[in-house]
């Protein structure tokens, strides 16, 4: 690791100011940042440990939702009874990510801000536009099995690795952010991560020094929900494709549906056309198949990951069918 200074501020103002300086970086659980510092991909010159900040509260909002402080561990979110009962898609997404040890260490904010697992991003000897803008993309024409099929650009085809972010997208969560100026804003989760376009070095819409302080969940959605993840081994592996689904049916008709896909794009992917096609449709296998086809209609796969189209399509149809059978 390259040398860095280390500080542990106790106020949000001091932390955001320190991290906004050139070379400054927050560290929360450390499970992604230290990993990347060891392979020389991340090179902060000053680490701002945020563990002493007051970001651990986990309570009800006036609107009937929940506010999860950015330092609440992934385990503590998944273990909370309110989450397990009213937002099971979130608990399932977290429990299907990483290992028990990592979930104990990892924080809500760090999970959202984790970086891609593209192998070329990790290898400083290979061209990578995300790591080094303008150097090229080794995955295009290279090993692309785990890369994007939707929303990619000519400069980057990486996928976002977070399972939690996929569930939060289906739940339409909001992210609360503190700027170094002291301004506090909230943005919908779909506005946090971005598509790569011509600037894949920017994973998110946050500016340097901006701190995620909380995740805000709206009141529980009606219907049944589930997170399904397909991976290369039964546990402790990133998603090849995943889906978060919330299905609300009444007298065998779809009243509302929310879908988000993981492992297919640079951010959690919302197949809006599929959602629209389903609302008001009969809650039948045929409707779910049609919606699943609509969800991947615009896919542009790489030579190495064409299989993801069928995989995503089947996973969506299967998950919706199961939710309907559970009385979604």
């Amino acid at each position: 690791m390259r040398p860095f200074t280390f500080e542990r501020p106790t106020s949000i103002a001091a932390a955001t100011l320190a991290a906004s300086q050139l070379g400054g970086k927050f560290i929360a659980g450390g499970t992604n940042l230290l990993d990347l510092m060891k392979v020389d991909v991340e090179r902060p010159t000053s680490l701002v440990d945020i563990s002493a900040l007051p970001l651990r509260d986990f309570g009800a909002t006036a609107e009937g939702g929940l506010r999860i402080g950015a330092l609440v561990s992934n385990t503590d979110i998944a273990s909370d009874n309110r989450i397990r009962e009213a937002y099971p898609v979130l608990a399932e997404a977290l429990l299907n990510g990483a290992s028990a040890q990592l979930r104990n260490q990892a924080t809500a904010g760090g999970n959202l801000m984790q970086r891609t697992r593209c192998p070329y991003f990790y290898d400083v000897f290979m061209p990578c536009n995300k790591r080094q803008p303008g150097s090229g993309c080794s995955a295009i024409g290279g090993y692309s099995r785990l890369h994007a099929i939707l929303g990619a650009s000519r400069d980057c085809i990486a996928v976002h690795p977070s399972d939690m972010a996929v569930a939060l997208t289906a739940l339409q969560a909001e992210i609360e952010v503190h700027a170094p100026s002291g301004v506090v804003r909230t943005l919908p989760i779909c506005a946090l991560h971005r598509l790569p376009d011509e600037t894949p070095d920017h994973d998110t819409s946050l500016a340097p020094g901006e701190l995620i302080s909380a995740i805000i969940l709206p009141p529980p959605a009606r219907g049944k929900q589930a997170y399904r993840k397909v991976r290369d081994r039964a546990s402790f592996a990133f998603a090849v494709v995943s889906v978060a689904a919330i299905l609300d049916c009444s007298s065998r008709t779809v009243r509302d549906v929310r879908l988000a896909l993981g492992g297919v794009a640079h951010k959690p992917w919302q197949p809006r056309a599929a959602e629209r096609a389903l609302v008001g449709a009969p809650a039948s296998g045929a409707s779910f198949e049609a919606a699943a086809r609509a969800a991947v209609a615009g896919a542009e796969p790489q030579p190495g990951n064409q299989f993801k189209i069928d995989l995503a399509r089947r996973l969506i149809a299967r998950t919706l069918t199961d939710l309907a059978a559970r009385g979604g």
Binding site: F6, E7, K38, S79, N96, A100, Q101
Partner: protein, 181 residues
Amino acid sequence: MPQSHPISSAAWPTTRLTINGQKHELTVDPRTTLLDTLRDHLGLTGSKKGCDHGQCGACTVLVNGARMNACLSLVAMRHGDEIVTIEGLGESETLHPLQQAFWTHDGLQCGFCTPGQICSAVGMFREIEHGVPSAAMANVAATPSLDAVEVRERMSGNICRCSAYPNIVAAILDSRQGHAG
């Protein structure tokens, strides 16, 4: 630009923490991980460095009772924490029940992953007591309990290159029965 030389030791952070019941005050280069502190600075070589990237679990220790990967934590991040390593669980004359169970069931071959497996299993038992669910549960809102499928899912962060898994699972389930019923 990244600095090319280490920061002066005058700027090193001081970390106070408890390791296996003993208080320590350490002023080390902030790049030092908890794992390197244990192994190289304090001579506690029970915790192993398998991958150094959170992928194998050989470095698993207990931090305030919760299992974590010591390789993915800087020691400076553990200010005020209580760490327990395999050395803190039992000695060769007074084995921890899980150490005894691994011995009885032959839950190891080369033994490299074993300290991490045992610390991880201790952490897992506590998680079950605290109601922490797992991905193996059909319903995440249910009360968790342990069987072989649950043990395999909950211990998936501990890789055994010798593939001693059947005996590791047997040792853990046996120890659990002897322990909490």
